[in-house]
């Protein structure tokens, strides 16, 4: 008996530093340089170390949030920050419709709402570059983008209907220990409005120099990455007050306490 207690104390002592190093429900991501589909002029971008939520924010999480911050309740949210479909799968200010599961990812969320949610937890939304950096891994490799299986899996999900109604955590976690970046919902990013494509193919080919200053500098690097193309195209077509059925979010946190500076 005494021995067991001793063992327990011992293990706690060993793992104690880990508890402090990592926030609850998040994993650490070691930053690096990589080439995203749309980079800067040098095409390589640099991602600093950060922590990311293991799962997307769920309906249950969001219920707790609006209880604490009534300004984001369905009936109280102002039109500047959310369109009419905001939380349209909720039956009242604090209740989901009966058909919705508490542990499904929250959707019908605007960018303003997602941003404030993260800030209220002392976190922030991930940048496009950070999100893509974590999402380019599969179960075994940090950069799985040239594996056929990686692309097939994502595209198979893009074809599957109503995936936003599934529960979180059903897919295999990736090599970082993060679940559901692909397979459930699209996710908001902090600087989604940095994607300078209009969605109209003729305009984009023409690099609409009238609408966008300097757009000729921005070209795609990997024309085979069709799934990533779709993600960037969606980001390019979003407005911050849109709330969509298959668009949720998760939060990240800077490791060296530089909130807001890392955008």
């Amino acid at each position: 008996m005494k021995n067991q207690v001793f063992m327990l104390v011992f293990t706690l002592l060993v793992f104690q530093p880990l508890l402090f190093a990592q926030s609850k429900g998040m994993v650490s991501i070691k930053g690096s340089r990589y080439i995203p589909l749309y980079g800067r002029d040098s095409t390589v971008v640099e991602v600093n170390n950060f922590e990311i939520d293991i799962y997307p924010v769920t309906n249950a999480d969001y219920v707790n949030f609006v209880k604490k911050y009534p300004r984001w309740q369905k009936s109280k949210v102002i039109k500047l920050f959310a369109d009419a479909s905001y939380l349209s799968n909720w039956k009242s200010d604090l209740e989901l419709k009966d058909s919705e599961k508490p542990d499904s990812p929250v959707t019908y969320i605007s960018w303003f709402a997602a941003k404030d949610y993260c800030e209220c937890q002392g976190k922030r939304l991930p940048t496009v570059d950070e999100w893509e950096y974590v999402a380019m891994s599969d179960e075994t490799t940090k950069d799985a983008r040239n594996k056929a299986s990686y692309n097939q899996q994502i595209l198979a999900w893009y074809e599957a209907p109503r995936s936003n109604e599934n529960k979180i955590g059903q897919h295999q976690k990736n090599v970082w220990g993060v679940h559901d970046l692909h397979g459930l919902v699209w996710e908001w990013t902090l600087d989604f409005n940095s994607v300078l494509i209009t969605g109209e193919s003729r305009k984009d080919v023409d690099k609409d120099s009238n609408l966008f200053c300097g757009s000729a500098a921005l070209n795609a690097t990997d024309l085979m990455n069709y799934a990533a193309f779709m993600r960037y195209a969606i980001r390019g077509s979003l407005k911050a007050k849109y709330s969509m059925k298959n668009l949720g979010f998760r939060c990240v946190k800077d490791i060296n306490d530089k909130i807001n500076e890392n955008l």
Partner: protein, 237 residues
């Protein structure tokens, strides 16, 4: 028994320490400036409210733009719901709602831009040139920098002088990175830093009425500005 006590203490310590981890909120604490309404000290500003040492009148919070306040209520769609703080080219700190009461013509630029921004600026000047004088006093033209790190108050002031836009009706704003991102999203302006000194950005001129509601947007460079001018005249008394 002693070991149990020890164990509980340990657990307690872990929880107590862990709980301090959450709920950190960043505060961008910028104070308003205060000034004597009689300008006794040639525009000297104070960090805190109080009274003027010369004429003893109460100091007033500084806003550069006169407020012809029409009504106190702002609607849900008004940009005055944004609470971010901005530095003007005169070095004052304001919120967007301090601009309430005038028609706002807003555009996002950055001063080191060599390509589209000079053309955007000239588009705005063309618009300003055709507005009759009696309307002009109820209009504020606001340039918001998408490069808040480079475009300080001083730099914006210099830019204003260079472009002969140093009069009352021109305002230049420097925000915070997150404030600028939020504001751009309200305007549906897209931008991306492509190198430390260069940005790509959409060329959009937005017209807001005196209550801060978006009325019209002109997209593109050198386009026909008749629609923009008409909408400005329409919302300006």
């Amino acid at each position: 028994m002693k070991t149990y006590k020890y164990l509980f203490l340990m657990l307690f310590a872990i929880f107590a320490l862990q709980s301090c981890n959450s709920n950190k909120k960043t505060n961008e604490n910028i104070d308003l400036a205060y000034q004597c309404p009689m300008q006794c000290e040639n525009g000297k500003t104070y960090r805190e409210p109080g009274s003027c040492p010369i004429c003893k009148m109460d100091l007033e919070p500084l806003t550069q733009i006169s407020k012809n306040v029409l009504s106190d209520d702002i609607s849900e769609e008004s940009i005055f719901n944004l609470t971010s703080q901005w530095h003007t080219e005169e070095g004052n700190v304001i919120e967007l709602k301090d601009l309430k009461g005038k028609t706002l013509v807003m555009v996002m630029i950055y001063t080191s831009c060599k390509a589209a921004c000079p053309r955007l600026v000239s588009d705005i000047r063309n618009i300003e040139a055709v507005i009759p004088d009696e309307k002009l006093k109820n209009i504020q033209f606001v340039f918001v920098s998408i490069d808040p790190e480079t475009d300080t108050s001083e730099r914006l002031k210099a830019f204003a002088k260079e472009n002969y836009m140093d009069e009352e009706q021109w305002t230049f704003l420097q925000g915070t990175k997150s404030g600028v991102r939020e504001f751009a999203n309200v305007l549906s302006v897209k931008y991306k830093e492509i190198s430390p000194i260069d940005f790509s950005h959409s060329n959009i001129i937005s017209v807001f009425n005196a209550q801060g509601e978006l009325k019209y947007q002109q997209e593109g460079l050198g386009v026909d500005n008749a629609g923009t001018v008409a909408s400005i005249l329409d919302v300006t008394p």
